[in-house]
Structures are given as C-alpha cells and as structure tokens.
Amino acid sequence: MQTLSRVFTATGLAAVVLLFGLTASPAALDVRGAVAGQQAPALRLPTADGTYLSLADQKGNVVLIDFWASWCAPCRHAFPAIDQLFVDFRSRGFRVIAVNLDEKRQDAVDFLVARPHGIDVVFDPRGDSARAFGLTGMPSSYLIGRDGTIRYAHAGYTDKVLDAYRLEIERLLSEPAGGEHTR
C-alpha cells in the first residue's frame, strides 16, 4: 500500500513536470504579432456613421490604435483613460483610433452610448485588422509614429501601461515628422 502511494505521487509529479515542461516554449505556439519598428499594416474601417477612417490619412500625426471589445473587462477600463489621453494631447497632433472587435455591433453601441467620448471608434466585427496586426491578447494597442511605423506595442491594460502611454506619446510628439530614430 505504501509503495502504491509512492507510485501515485511519483506519477502525479512526473505528469505535472511533463505538462509544464512540454509547453515551456510558448514562442513555438504563439504567432508573433506586429512589432515595434515595422511599418503599420493598412487600416481602413467604418465609423458609426458609415464614413471610412484610414490610418494612411493620419501621416504626420502620432496615432494610438486601441483594439477593444465590450466583453473585455480591461478594455472597458482602458477606454475612458485613452479618451483622456486624446483630450490631453490632441492639440499637439495626437489621434486615437479605437478599433472595436465586437461581433455583435449592438454590444458595442450599448457600451458607447453610456460613455460620451471624443476618440474615433471604428468597427471591425470580422477582426480582419486584428488578424493583420497579429493580436496576441485583448486589449492590444500600438503607438504609430509620425512616419507611420509602429513604435510601441502593448498587450493588456494596467496602470503601468497608462504611465507608459504618456511617456511614449510625449516622446513621439517631440520627434520631428519623418525624422530618423532608433529605439
């Protein structure tokens, strides 16, 4: 009986170690998303009134692209904070494109009517843009420099991310349009 128990414990431990070990390389499973330094993928999506908004038209501005959905709790927390960033930096050439990924448009509309906002919201129920950017989690956001390259990428939203946004936006706004830079 004693030996039997030892066998079980050993089997159990071995199984746990095996499971964690087998999967110790998430890089092999995760497709890498859009990264800093790359040219941002093209983005052209409709707003609530049906007019199209395009990232290409924003050349010269610093743009924050925020991928969100109404069912995602951290996305909901980020939304008003990002709206505030827009208020604070808009006069210096900062824009926000909030890409909504709800499959049911009504879910997004219900969320938005309860929250007056100044940022541009576009709708991508099929998630084509999210696929183009290679999102690895929700929410995901990308800061695009004045030259149209991705300069910073974030997955998830916390207070630390908000602090990082401010520093990064400040840094990108202070760069001259089309200027050379390295990270």
């Binding site: 039997l4 079980f8 089997t11 199984a15 499971l19 087998l22 999967t23 499973l29 991928f67 959905a69 069912w71 995602c72 709790a73 951290p74 996305c75 990924l101 709800d102 499959e103 049911k104 879910d107 998630g127 999210a130 696929r131 999102l135 690895t136 989690g137 929700m138 929410p139 995901s140 997955a155 998830g156 939203y157």
Partner: protein
C-alpha cells in the same frame, strides 16, 4: 495492470490529447465574446461551489477532484 494504474494512464492519455488539440485550436483573442460570459467560466460562483462540495462531503462517501476554476475572457 491494476484498475488504478489504468485510471492514471487513461487520464494521462486524455491530457495528452488535450495538449495535442491545443495546437490546432484557432480561437483568436478577439473571438472570445461568449467564452467571457460567466456561464462559460468554470466555478464562476466559487462560494456556491464551495458550499455544494461542503454539504455533499457531509452526506456522500466521495469528495474532492471536482475540477478547478478557469476559462473566461482570456484578457491580458
């Protein structure tokens, strides 16, 4: 092989299959709207689950191993 030994093997096999299917799962982070619903989260109401397993263990001869919390929105 003992019954218990078979049981362990069976579980390991099942887990191996689960790990294998994990490779082909294609649910993208933005497609988890329904998975984020509390009804899809294992033991969303932990208090109720604890209470149930508590009175069950006071009445029934087997307890434990009811599974763990998990699932949900998968948000970062």
């Amino acid at each position: 092989m003992t019954r218990t030994g078979r049981m362990v093997l069976l579980t390991l096999a099942a887990l191996a299959v689960a790990m294998w299917t994990a490779g082909c799962a294609t649910v993208q982070p933005w497609e988890r709207a329904r998975l984020a619903n509390p009804c899809m989260v294992f033991d969303y109401n932990g208090g109720q689950a604890d209470f149930a397993s508590h009175w069950q263990s006071a009445r029934e001869g087997s307890s434990g191993g009811f599974g763990v919390q998990g699932g949900g929105c998968g948000c970062k």
